[in-house]
Symmetry: D2
Subunit: 333 residues, 4 copies
């Protein structure tokens, strides 16, 4: 950690700070510039609160040199993590397509969609049973019944299933779910992350709407620090000043996360854009910049969808998209 002291800091103040830092088991290297004194802190800087240090009157700025994330850090594990669920693999050169409706509605609907996306080449079936909704008055999903219907669709098609958890007390219902999703709004629900870290299931972690990549990785770290190494990172749009699409899909995060971490990175263009016609171009762009997978909403009858239907492709559109994605994938590897 590097600490820059303000011009005019007295020697007594410098000595006082250094002795406090040493009491925290840090080595301190001092270098005097023309206008500033710079302290290099060496050792376990996790013992020192950067913000506390930065708030001191004599401190100009503080900069961490070593990233605070460890287990998901590519520096400490250069080879890609590969998540394997049955025959499907994500990461390490394996590309996966996850498709399905926003909400599970009926057995007929979910099985029909599951069969259609399987035929188009999807590797996983997604579907919402517990739905986080901005309004308490909106449809909140079928809950336990939704999970039951997903498992019927899995039985019918063999596709592994991905569905979202909102409350750790519902964990028992997820016993046969293949991949547990954590939504953007829960990305920093740390107690939920810790409990999921104690399971042995892959966790699909969505990036929060206003979270930096480092915060995103620290949330993955919460899961991994409890023992579960199977985390899939999912970029799904961030919140910016522009409102023509629902959110701003931040695709540069894909190569950047690959640089920072060995975890697989997928993209969800459906929630980010909120408009059916924007999904195919953005899904293809996600593949082109190196995503390890794409998760898209597919519905057999968009106009009747109970929830977020606006974001759903029809199965035939998905099949066409899947074909193009495979060509692009080959062009880049």
């Amino acid at each position: 950690m590097i600490t820059v002291l303000k011009k005019g800091t007295s020697q007594a103040q410098i000595d006082h700070l250094i002795s406090w830092l040493r009491s925290r088991n840090l080595d301190v290297h001092i270098s005097h510039g023309e206008n500033y004194t710079v302290l290099g802190l060496i050792g376990n800087t996790g013992n020192v609160d950067m913000e506390l240090l930065g708030s001191l009157d004599i401190v100009e700025s503080v900069k961490r040199v070593t990233e605070p994330f460890k287990q998901c850090n590519r520096q400490f594990q250069p080879e890609d993590t590969v998540i394997t669920v049955g025959k499907a693999k994500i990461g390490g050169g394996n590309f996966a397509m996850i498709a399905g409706p926003c909400s599970v509605e009926t057995e007929e609907q979910i099985i029909e969609v599951a069969e259609a996306v399987k035929a188009a080449g999807a590797d996983f079936l997604r579907g919402g049973a517990f739905k986080p909704r901005t309004s308490p008055y909106d449809f909140q999903g079928l809950g336990a019944e939704g999970i039951r219907l997903l498992l019927e669709a899995k039985k019918a098609t063999g596709l592994p299933i991905v569905t979202e958890i909102m409350n750790i007390n519902a964990l028992d219902l997820f016993a046969d779910v293949d991949v547990i999703q954590v939504g953007a709004r829960n990305m920093q629900n740390f107690d939920l992350l810790k409990e999921l870290g104690k399971t042995n299931k892959p966790i699909l972690l969505k990036r929060g709407l206003a979270n930096t990549l480092k915060e995103f990785l620290m949330s993955a770290e919460y899961i991994m620090s409890e023992g579960n190494q199977q985390v899939i990172l999912c970029e799904r749009g961030i919140r910016t000043f522009d409102t023509y699409a629902r959110n701003t899909l931040d695709l540069t995060a894909v190569p950047m996360l690959h640089e920072l971490s060995h975890l697989p990175v997928i993209v969800d263009p459906s929630h980010a854009t909120g408009k059916i016609r924007l999904i195919p171009p953005m899904a293809m762009a996600a593949v082109a910049c190196g995503a390890d997978g794409v998760m898209v909403e597919v519905h057999n009858d968009p106009i009747h969808a109970l929830c977020d239907g606006a974001q759903s492709l029809k199965p035939e559109q998905f099949a066409d998209l899947a074909k193009r994605m495979r060509i692009i994938r080959e062009a880049i590897v």
Copy 2:
């Protein structure tokens, strides 16, 4: 709800959409302009998913006319809500100061701070027992022991206490806590909000870092829709492109929330700025634009604080600030 249809929409498409809308028990008023057809939807538009409607190919845009929040909406309750805890009141012309350390550390610390802030005129003692931290490797608070120490400080000074809950499974520990805080990261942890809506305690709800005022009010609505009408809204900074302060304190939210809702609105300048020297000016500005209260971190020994100490005033600085805030408060009412 107003729906604008795209130029070139055929009469058959219009008729199809209208019959679908009517099947959802809505009256539809049609008006034809030069380039667009506009549909006015009347009735319980809660039955219609705005985003679904907006995603249809024939739809240019959708605009809600009636706000989706009801119980916190000033239109439906013109008079201010007043939260009363013992002798302290917030809202409806009552101004409250909430002060205390970021984290509870020791009995000696919390009692000393409690006495100091009480002497300076604080109405509530705040202190963190459960701490949401970006990193799993950072200090996470004293937990149950922290709450016990806060209750000791309450016994010693008579100040009601405010502390944060992160996990609904910890609710029993909050039996004697006076005001339960929900942090910014949990503002859309809807299951937590619903459970708090079943309690009879005032809830201090912090605005999320990237949440609009309407989303903020919808989260208050989650609590209120379960029966608990005692919600205090807290502006604590939003995330923007500028990084000189930790977050951007959005003070215009104060008069705007007062216009939209009857709930009391307070401001936390400590977390927003992250720098001690910025707290007094921003606390005074919060009072000047009409906040019903201010929550500031006060610590007896900033350099040794375990967590977020960077944001703490010393008690004597708080006493001076409290005096100035009272003068400003008088100038504006």
Copy 3:
């Protein structure tokens, strides 16, 4: 334009507003809902200031139905605009690559780069002569000499050239420049746009860092309203809370701009990312989501570049990228 009046507005207030609107030559359609009265304004709503209307105490909200941009609006010209410069074409199914160094430095450098990018298939040579720099103490470009060197490179290779104008008083120097670029910081320098609208040269207009797509199109409209219909829109990243890349490349703007406007849309991944290793993936993603062209910085010796060199590819990296972009382009059309 649709104006929603607040609950409780008196009939006298409504009548007063309507008579004022009619005095501005607008037809007013009134519809009364349960909680609100909605006015539909028909006619040339350009006569009415939306913000003025929205600021009135009795007005809840105002919404424009017809877009304020006309000449660049796809509704009024469904077929794509194609920009032709010599043999190069952009838009309407034509894809163009624009490449070259950030700054022109020496005759040797610019000719060497021009030859290399031509060999790799570039259609245009770019190079900065006038450089907008945040600091007055940074290198500001070679100015007129830079343009002279670009023209030498054009003579040597036949590539048309693209370079940035910062001051309308320098227009004479651009007499032989093929495409004039307006930088992000000048996107709303309206006097500059108007003067460029009087020229007969294609204008490459970059999106401002915090400008919405509608503002972007209104700036194109400034140029077009003076008679110059040849505008190329360029997405180059917006400013958001995340700082791991220099800016956030907003690729969803590509399909969205194609929907709103008939003008060609290109992408500059170099300035957006600020990191060489992020340029190839983001350039490929730009192609995959339908961009009509890509503009990348290529330098023969990155370490010695005087300015923004950080963003430059080497010619051999560009050649490899160009090959992959062509494959992706074929997959999507």
Copy 4:
């Protein structure tokens, strides 16, 4: 400047970089940590492009220690700059009120408003003659005639005048203007700033919608580096994700700019909020956090204003606000 090299950088690469840095006349201090090597660069680091350095494959990050702004930097001039225009002073303990209509419309209007704001205690008259408008089809101001009318109002009341310049070619028209305003959209129109730096008039520089405080100060530096030391900084709202107000007024910028620079800082709550009813609370908040002045729009007849009238107070509202601002000002100094 501090440069952190990536883990795994070879000694040869380090030596190569150091020799390049030394060729730029920098001293290099090397310190080896566990995972990283850190280079401290000492000397005139203005010779090195931070972004170039940061883009190198072996470089983890680069951090500037000395701020790039010099003449506006409080480190190099601890005492406040005071701007004096006739009897009015801004900065160094002097508080100024600047008031007037958004646009100058008629001689009668501007003189009536000028007299009203003078009576309420305003120190300057503001009024727009050249108006930057998002749309080319909107009213663009009276231009030269507007300046003539402002000068009439100055003659009638003795109030010094503030008005905006958009194009350096119009400078002659500003010969008798007291303070020249540069609008937010021109904050990085560097050629305009340089020319204004050659005048001897105070420049009121507005912060751009998406500009950091450092960029804001660098733009002041452009003016000062040409010799004109009279710059007034004006916070007027930034662009964020929330849209309930036109922009997000960033009041924390006031104490922060005072810390970084000796230049006076004023606030314009009219443009930031876009709603009359939000102006008084935000103007008072601006005073409470230490602004050296406030600029508000005042109009004698808001409903008839040609432009931005939505943001105007009536004179009697301004008079009441002025009184409250004076009380708050006294409470904080």
